[in-house]
């Protein structure tokens, strides 16, 4: 019985990941098509590191740009969705283990979640 519920949790995690990747890929594709229409004819310049501009290197910058249909921010928004899928998997873990009344692994999943979120608030 317990094993069946646990397998159900794994199945739900797997399906969530697959849907997340598909949606993220479609957003990246849409932003990419727009980008190539606008800038396809220009010269590529990736040989020197300058750092991505603020509009595509912060969560608020990306979301703001995507709302204005900026092509690079749209691709960035797809990338954020993609990064969010494994984070959602860990959230699923916290909730799922709590439902299975497994205190130890609810705590373990919560620790992993805190480490993941720290990565986004840490300043360099």
């Amino acid at each position: 019985m317990e094993q069946e519920r646990e397998h159900g949790l794994e199945q739900a995690m797997g399906r969530m990941l697959q849907i997340g990747v598909m949606v993220a890929a479609l957003v990246v594709l849409a932003g990419g098509a727009l980008y190539l229409l606008q800038f396809g004819g220009s010269k590529p310049d990736y040989g020197h590191f300058e750092g991505a501009p603020a509009a595509v290197s912060t969560v608020s910058g990306i979301v703001g740009g995507a709302l204005h249909m900026d092509a690079r921010s749209l691709i960035g928004f797809g990338i954020l969705l993609l990064i969010a899928t494994p984070i959602c998997r860990v959230i699923f873990g916290v909730v799922g283990f709590a439902m299975l009344r497994d205190k130890l692994y609810t705590a373990v999943s919560a620790v992993v979640l805190i480490i993941l979120l720290y990565s986004f608030v840490a300043r360099r």
């Binding site: 590529p44 290197s57 912060t58 993609l82 860990v90 993941l116 720290y118 990565s119």
Partner: protein, 278 residues
């Protein structure tokens, strides 16, 4: 060459890398960075960013298929993710501190190691009869189907595996790769898990580990959307095709050919790093 041609060439190269990576089990991410740096003359840090995002895409994209087989162990995976994500934070932090040439040399060594791991066959170790009390307390056990019946297993050498996983996470953050080969080593050689459990659980963990570095990569400006776009889409499509053609292809010949490519890229990365060209 304009941006359109450049993006198309990147897409095709990434598609091939994803296809061969899935077919051979080496993962496509490991060749993306050397291909971008050596063939396309992309800056190393932008290449790390594009590779890391592709790694998340392939890991999450493949998860559904692995879950269906019922071999992965979510408790062992989640427990070890504490170590890999902490390591990934350290590795991502180090990318801004370590010189590109050193990253290139370390990258080359990891390529050579991955090539060696893929020709060195995994087998199930004889398990010792006395269980690790720490593993029992942490519930690091499970069962998996063998010839129609369930076979039980318990993890061994938990502290050693945890330490190795921290190292795997650091490499993942430093090099923008999944470092699946090191993860499998920790679960296979240290924990003595059945190799089907190690390989599938490792794949499950790769996406979470990479997500831990992603926030830091983003704020460091390594993730350039216009460069990530063709690479991520190419690797994703290639690996989906690769994992579906697994049974009909002459895998052995392709694997040997891919291993030769990986070794050549590894040697070239080490050479470029040592001569200060990265």
């Amino acid at each position: 060459m304009n941006v359109l041609d450049f993006s198309l060439a990147l897409f095709v190269t990434s598609l091939l890398a994803g296809f061969l990576g899935a077919l051979t089990g080496l993962g496509g991410g490991v060749v993306i960075v050397p291909a971008l740096c050596l063939l396309f003359k992309v800056d190393l840090h932008y290449a790390l960013g594009a590779s890391l995002i592709s790694v998340i895409a392939t890991s999450s994209g493949a998860a559904a298929a692995y879950v269906r087989e019922g071999f992965s162990n979510i408790r062992i995976g989640m427990f070890l993710e504490v170590a890999t994500t902490l390591g990934a934070l350290l590795g991502a932090y180090l990318t801004a501190k370590v010189s590109g040439n050193w990253i290139g040399v370390i990258f080359g060594l990891v390529l050579l190691y991955s090539a060696w791991m893929s020709v060195h066959k995994l087998y199930d170790h004889p398990r010792s009869s006395k269980a690790d009390p720490l593993a029992l307390r942490l519930n690091l056990r499970g069962s998996y189907p063998v010839d129609g019946r369930e076979e039980a297993y318990v993890a061994e050498h938990v502290p050693a595996a945890f330490g190795m996983m921290f190292g795997a996470g650091t490499l993942s953050g430093l090099l923008g790769i999944g470092s699946g080969a090191v993860k499998v080593l920790a679960m296979d050689e240290a924990m003595k898990l059945p190799f089907k459990v190690s390989t599938t659980t490792s794949n499950f963990m790769i996406g979470v580990t990479a997500a831990a570095s992603a926030g830091i990569y983003l704020s460091h400006g390594y993730i350039l959307p216009s460069l990530v776009m063709p690479v991520m889409l190419g690797v994703l499509v290639g690996s989906l095709i690769g994992s579906r053609t697994l049974t009909h292809a002459p895998v052995k010949t392709i694997r040997m050919a891919f291993v030769v490519v990986v070794v050549a890229l590894g040697v070239e990365m080490i050479y470029n790093g040592m001569t200060g060209r990265l």
